[in-house]
Point group: C2
Chain length 353, copies 2
């Protein structure tokens, strides 16, 4: 069936122009209608084949599926979302790539997405502005939900989510948005970690404390540290704040600063394994022995923590479980019971402390 552009002048007379115009706007992609035509069923049956397969007789269903496969049909999520008002897409916002826990977190999210037929898209944001921007992109895409890390979000971000009634969930920390979040008890972990150093007989402890924007996932730790130190007579705690960027060089610089300020420090608690590794490298450069001269502990059980010499004592948390539970909890309609919200943690004692 050949067809050329209709002469605009003849438009009124010929039946063709409407047809031609329609064609010109079509994307050329395989549509559901094409699948239906090929399978010899109605549009509705084709639609139902994807949406509620149980409504079709199995042979009809098979016909549609075959046709879809043969044609290479990929559902237009946009059109579906627009029409139904429901999107299978979940937007996940990560603060940084540098935290290897997030890799496991993501695989938990992916597993849950596979289980519930959802699709995940990602974005990274390390500042309030980029966070709001990313969330706006998600909302513009009319995602079905948004998964956030930490409880520290720019007012703009939260307002956007709320005013558009986009379901979202905050993860990683407890207590998060009461009854909704998924995470572990960072304060308890800090209490345990500080206790470990104290029980080893160390009395002058330093805490490297992340601050800055979007650093709320560290915020619960400091009070727990201070309380634990205060509970032991003769113990002293030093707080050294660092910027929110997680890097080896920050760890090295922090270690240098702490040693300059308080040479008698015997243990350094780091907010991440990256910082801890950086601090360890700095000690190596100075010829300080770890843990004999000074103990170092990290946080997060990143892969590197098991590989440095000495290996790093750290806090292991179940990022995979957090991710998995987060997605399931995001949409109550899943029909599944909501998993427990506390995914726990574990102090992983290795050689550095």
């Amino acid at each position: 069936m050949t067809e050329h552009k209709a002469d605009p002048g003849a438009a009124v007379l010929s039946p063709a122009p409407a047809e031609a115009k329609r064609r010109s706007r079509q994307s050329g992609r395989v549509t559901l209608a094409a699948v239906a035509r090929r399978a010899g069923v109605s549009l509705m049956s084709a639609s139902n084949a994807f949406r509620c397969p149980e409504k079709l007789r199995s042979d009809t269903l098979a016909r549609v599926q075959t046709a879809a496969r043969e044609l290479g049909y990929i559902p237009d999520v946009l059109a579906g979302t627009l029409a139904s008002g429901q999107s299978p897409v979940v937007g996940v916002l990560l603060p940084t790539m540098r935290n290897s826990s997030f890799e496991r977190y993501l695989s938990g999210l992916r597993r849950a997405a596979r289980e519930t037929g959802r699709r995940i898209i990602l974005s990274f944001a390390d500042s309030p502005e980029s966070e709001a921007e990313a969330v706006e992109t998600f909302i513009g895409l009319r995602v079905g939900g948004v998964v956030l890390i930490g409880g520290d979000h720019s007012p703009g971000t939260l307002q956007l989510l709320r005013q558009t009634a986009t379901p979202f969930i905050e993860t990683w920390l407890l207590p998060a948005d009461a009854g909704k979040g998924v995470g572990y008890d960072a304060a308890a972990a800090m209490t345990a970690m500080t206790g470990l150093h104290l029980q080893a007989g160390r009395r002058v402890l330093a805490l490297i404390d992340h601050d800055g924007a979007l650093a709320a996932r560290y915020r619960l730790r400091r009070p727990a540290f201070e309380a634990a130190v205060a509970a032991v007579p003769g113990a002293r705690g030093i707080i050294h704040p660092v910027g929110a960027t997680d890097s080896f060089s920050e760890g090295a610089a922090a270690m240098a600063a702490i040693l300059a300020q308080a040479p008698q420090v015997r243990a350094v608690i780091c907010p991440t394994d990256i910082i801890a590794a950086g601090a360890l490298f700095e000690c190596q450069r100075r010829g300080l022995r770890v843990p004999q001269d000074i103990a170092i502990s990290g946080w997060g059980n990143y892969e590197i923590s098991g590989q440095t010499l000495p290996a790093l004592t750290t806090v292991a948390l179940d990022a995979e479980a957090i991710g998995h539970a987060a997605l399931l909890r995001l949409m109550p309609g899943s029909g599944e019971t909501c998993p427990a919200q506390d995914t726990g943690f574990q102090i992983l004692r290795r050689d550095s402390a």
Copy 2:
């Protein structure tokens, strides 16, 4: 204007049901129509205010903008894409989170996106299946383009992209898809790196070679290594393959295996800085001095490479530039001249080799 759900029983009698039905399907979100109403302009003017502002008188424009801000209007990208057939969203596919070059790559992409008014969504894929799945999600979302890393993609992935006529670009390596890709010359970098070890007088060199799925971004290196070694009389090259997972422990294991197999090895060229750091840690554990006993070089100039002791000699590449150029090249319509496709590299000599 209060309104409650219409009583289903009364549906037939009341004039409300149609209205109620309509309402029930509406998202409740702020639409362009609402903005137009509030600004007292037609729907078209409101649309134009965003799409081609120059078509409006400035006071009309301002009225629309004010109304949009007051209402908290967020354009429905879905509807816009569906209607126009063009999407401002670009899907970026990353192989892994562990490569800190990708962070810079991403910021280049983001900068370009900001410059051209596009939006970026991300996905990670480390296997052919997850790659195809991610690309399918992008295509289902009818993204305007897809940015890929490396030239090694599952046939399914490429076929999907081609059959749906989705614009895409392969980055990172040269020569990529001739005339379209953006990247650096990995073979030349390997030649230079091998030369560095040879010039230092080392004659038994080992290459740790990534293989496995999706590892094409390493594939050009080995022949260059072999050629460089062959060109120097008395030099010998050992190839040690490792799986595609980029981890410290892989590096450590590879180093152990190489030492067992060829104790006389004097230099090890690693495919990434992570592997190199892992290899270095293994040497430390064995009391081998780097670089006196054995030289190690990495690849990628990840942050860790400057922090270990000794710091790692590595290949620095301009990931930011790759990302930036990739997005600009993806859509020729940008009106900008396409930047050069070779973003170059640099051998960063530090202490480990």
